[in-house]
Amino acid sequence: MGEDIRTRTDVFLHTFTLARVAPSKRAGVGVTSPLLRNITTIARAAATLNEVNSSQFRLGLGVGGLQDLATLGITVTRPVQALESAVEVLRRIWNGRILTMKTETTELEQYQARYCSGTRIPIYLDVRGPHLLRLAGEVADGIILSGPMNYLEKAIRIVKNHPARQIPASPRIVVWLPTVLTRTEKDLRLAKSAAATVIADTPKSVLEMDGASQEALWLQETMRRRGYAIASRSVTDNLLNHFAISGNAARICSVFESLGRLGADEVVFGPPYGNRPLASVREVAGMWESS
């Protein structure tokens, strides 16, 4: 369950409702930013969700969209340190330790959570770029990856066998790309629009890692000079296939499988799914189940 700070919802409550109605499924927060709340609030929300279904809950953290954070007056100067600190503090809180510490983002004074049972809650990091990937490889239980295809392949290699990994088990890799079941021209336009949004938001370091960056850089420039609508119409099939997943259900499932061969343990379907989201989800899920 993702958090969109522009909507008037509580991501933890939505995740709770999801866990209630689908208890056999893994439900997680994917993702929230440790910069949006006091770290102790995230700790206890995660612990509460873990009590609902301890074998299935995962907490996803990410820095967050820089522009979204800026609208709330939050600036991020050291994202790697912010995430690293968040992971460390959360694990210490859940271990029931008495904590006194002060960092750029966290201040605790003789703090001890009263709800702890010592259970380990898996932390997934939603990260992009070489520095954050290295951090995730070192400390995260799982990693949520998004970005262009060549970049994904390199990113998976970086995180899977990180030499400085602090946790015995390998990280679980989740790939999350905008996915659209395209039946009509309208669906195709939606897919290209989703790809354009992703491309606009992709950092230069990711494009450099991807190596096939010229077209994407050109689209970013188009967006800056001529606006989103024109850039969206300029998304080529190559860019679409590189930054998003689209096509009929069979093609979508085929791409999912190829991501599995690259090293992904899980693939997230969606959003935006298509212009008929429920029908798209049913069709792709049905195809996946039967294949």
Binding site: D10, N38, R44, A47, T48, R114
Partner: protein, 304 residues
């Protein structure tokens, strides 16, 4: 008069839900889910309670506007109402200063708290209005500065139990309960037929914790400055008061907690009604077990 319990103190989610169901079954009107940096996340508890009950009203709070932004509180309330029906109230306030200090939030650094709370109320109310949801926004208050803004809210929850203090607060805030405005108290409680010493100790700890978080102006009104200062010295460096519960003065227990047998409870409820209180919330350790919740609910039936 309406009665409720306050949950989410040293308890598991499942246990809280069971106690809420008992409260509903035995006729209580409210379950208030307290929010503290060291306890489980209140909005989820509130959702779990609502999902497992049908009639009882669920209160969220006190939600500190220093710990949560007004928009985050509004988001939680909106999500709850949309998903579980219009059965929720919210109480906002500054919060317990000691607990907030532990998570890096210093009340002394916060400017113009009363105005900020009124503004928070406005943000929450406008969000609810946009979603066409009507619910009660309470103010959690103690001292004169907060009492002055109480009428900007739909109700006030005072966190002391002493009748004189309650009477003082009502006069100070020029408060009168009517169809639009409610006056409530929320206090640590132990109402019993036969007192169990270990639960009484918990009541002392709970009362002491509230006292330590009380502003100096209110403590002066109560004549408890020295007692709380001594308690603060004893509590220095300890994460909780449990180790020193026997040293919590009786005056703190009697001013901040409701401890009574059935007869005393009857008299107390009568006094509350007489001074104009319309809601009484019985907090931890009244929710120590299903038995203590049942006992309270049965006694309140007789008292009413």
């Amino acid at each position: 008069m309406m009665f409720g319990i306050s949950v989410n103190a040293n308890d598991s989610l499942q246990s809280i839900v069971e106690k809420a169901r008992i409260g509903e079954a035995y006729g209580l009107d409210y379950v208030w889910v307290s929010d503290s940096p060291v306890q489980l996340y209140a909005p989820i508890i509130a959702a779990a309670v609502a999902a497992s009950t049908r009639r009882i009203r669920v209160g969220l709070g006190l939600m500190s506007t220093l710990l949560h932004t007004p928009q985050q509180i509004a988001n939680s309330l909106l999500t709850l109402c949309v998903m579980y029906g219009n059965r929720f109230d919210v109480c906002i306030g500054v919060g317990d200063r000691q607990q907030l200090c532990r998570v890096g939030l210093d009340i002394n650094n916060a400017r113009d708290l009363p105005s900020k709370l009124v503004e928070a109320r406005s943000i929450i109310a406008s969000n609810l209005q946009a979603a066409r949801i009507r619910t009660r926004i309470w103010l959690g208050a103690q001292g004169p500065r907060m009492l002055r803004i109480a009428r900007d809210f739909d109700g006030i929850l005072l966190n002391y139990s002493n009748i004189q203090m309650i009477r003082w607060a009502i006069r100070q805030g020029n408060l009168k309960a009517d169809s639009k405005f409610k006056i409530g108290i929320s206090a640590p409680s132990y109402v019993h037929s036969t007192p169990q010493p270990e639960i009484l100790e918990l009541a002392k700890v709970a009362a002491g914790t509230v006292a330590l978080g009380t502003s100096s102006s209110v403590l002066r009104m109560m004549g408890l400055v020295d007692e709380v200062r001594r308690l603060r010295e004893l509590a220095e460096g300890r994460p909780s008061l449990e180790e020193i519960s026997s040293q919590v003065p009786t005056e703190i227990l009697s001013n901040f907690a409701i401890t009574a047998n059935e007869e005393e409870l009857c008299l107390y409820v009568r006094e509350l009604k007489r001074v104009g209180v319309t809601h009484a919330v019985f907090g931890y350790p009244q929710t120590h077990s299903q038995h203590t919740v049942k006992e309270l609910a049965k006694m309140l039936r007789s008292a009413s």
